[in-house]
């Protein structure tokens, strides 16, 4: 029924199943219906802003449109900082000016948004919603902004 594509993919699929069967885990305060959960799209660009907020973190990224056209700003919805902060993320994990590649489940109807799957940082570290999926090459240490 599901293929483990990434940890987040497994998580989302597993919870889609359990959500139907048991009603035991409700991720966030809304359904994932507005995202195309079967599709992954990759965006390479520069972080504009990282919102470390509830109910979701939001990554705002400028993605070049090509041919000299102005960059487009995409909004990527992630898990709560409460969840991420206990799994290796901090408010400093993504910073304005960071050049990254983000993989998302895009919003349906072609709008510039999506659900966060994973990000590859400039130093090659790959972060997903469960934390780092590769050994970090540098420390993301910073004053903890959320209780762990």
């Amino acid at each position: 029924m599901f293929k483990p594509v990434s940890t987040t993919g497994w998580l989302t699929s597993a919870l889609a199943v359990t959500g139907l069967a048991c009603g035991s885990v409700a991720w966030g305060h809304h359904s994932f219906a507005m995202f195309d959960m079967q599709k992954e799209q990759s965006l390479t660009g520069t972080i504009k802003q990282f919102q470390w907020t509830n109910p979701h973190t939001w990554v705002w990224i400028d993605v070049p449109a090509g041919n000299g056209a102005p960059a487009k700003e995409w909004g990527i919805e992630g898990m709560s900082p409460n969840f991420l902060g206990r799994r290796g993320w901090t408010v400093h994990t993504l910073n304005p000016g960071d050049r990254v590649t983000i993989v998302i489940h895009p919003v349906k109807n072609g709008r510039m948004g999506g659900s966060f799957v994973r990000v590859t940082l400039a130093d090659g570290t790959v972060m997903n919603m469960m934390g780092s999926s590769t050994p970090p090459k540098r420390s993301h240490a910073a004053p903890a902004s959320r209780a762990h």
Binding site: L15, G19, L20, C22, H30, A33, Q49, N82
Partner: protein, 262 residues
């Protein structure tokens, strides 16, 4: 005719019998008035701190539901009555809005990917749930369930201890909250939830939840959740409306606000 009190022979025997009778009656009176030591942990009453100290350790650290294997040791779907099955069938995730930062209420509030803290007090067990910053008060002082409770999201709860297990009974639910994480599933206000909380090992809390609803369910629905203890975590703030970009438009369609922040 009075008999002079004397301490010899027959008088002494009567004195002993009288004393024994008095002592027995006194002992019976005492045992009826005060609970025996073994009953202290069973009958709900206002507890002393030394009694609370003897309870299983639900209060050290905070609890979060295990993700992945073992999180849901029992998976079953609720068996809905025809009316409620029809409501589920008519539900479309794209069209029907989820609540906009409204907490989901019981039983779904106990299955969120956020931790909870359990506190013991003389009159209640308090569960501080990080998701939506919800609090459940489980009165353990012997008060009965309300006969005509106001409908609320989390219901009104009483509890008692059966050995090492906390048994919680909850009634009085607002019917517009979901029955499960699938928001198409609803319960009626007649829902009644019984939970059994117990440690299955020193750092694992199992909660077995029995949902009864004669209007929405054809039979009781039982789920089992497993929580891990995290000794060095603390409950964090969760203000859902802080940056809520998921909303419902006027036609009831779920939407997403992609306007970038300044």
């Amino acid at each position: 005719m009075s008999r002079p009190v004397n301490k010899s022979g027959l008088g002494r025997a009567w004195t002993r019998i009288g004393f024994a009778a008095f002592a027995t009656l006194a002992a019976l009176a005492v045992s009826a008035a005060e609970p025996q030591a073994t009953e202290v942990l069973r009958r709900p009453h206002v507890m002393s701190w030394s009694e609370l100290d003897k309870l299983p350790d639900f209060t050290t650290g905070i609890w979060e539901m295990s993700l992945g294997r073992g999180a849901l040791t029992q998976r079953s779907s609720p068996s809905l009555t025809p009316t409620y099955a029809a409501m589920l069938k008519a539900y479309k995730a794209e069209d029907t809005p989820d609540a906009n930062c409204l907490p989901p209420g019981m039983p779904v509030i106990m299955g969120q990917p956020y931790p909870m803290q359990i506190l013991f007090g003389p009159r209640e067990v308090t569960i501080d749930i990080e998701a939506y910053m919800q609090v459940r008060h489980i009165y353990t002082d012997g008060r009965p369930l309300p006969v005509d409770p106001d409908p609320t999201f989390n219901g009104t709860s009483i509890g008692h201890w059966e050995g090492q297990t906390l048994v919680v009974d909850t009634v009085g639910f607002e019917p517009d909250t979901p029955l499960s994480a699938n928001w198409g599933m609803h319960h009626s206000g007649k829902m009644r939830i019984v939970e059994h909380f117990r440690l299955t090992d020193p750092d694992t809390l199992q909660v077995v939840t029995d949902v009864n609803d004669p209007v929405a369910l054809t039979k009781p629905w039982t789920t089992t959740r497993v929580f891990e203890r995290h000794r060095d975590w603390t409950i964090a703030e969760y203000i859902c409306e802080q940056n809520n970009r998921n909303l419902v438009d006027q036609s009831g369609k779920a939407g997403i606000i992609l306007t970038p922040p300044k």
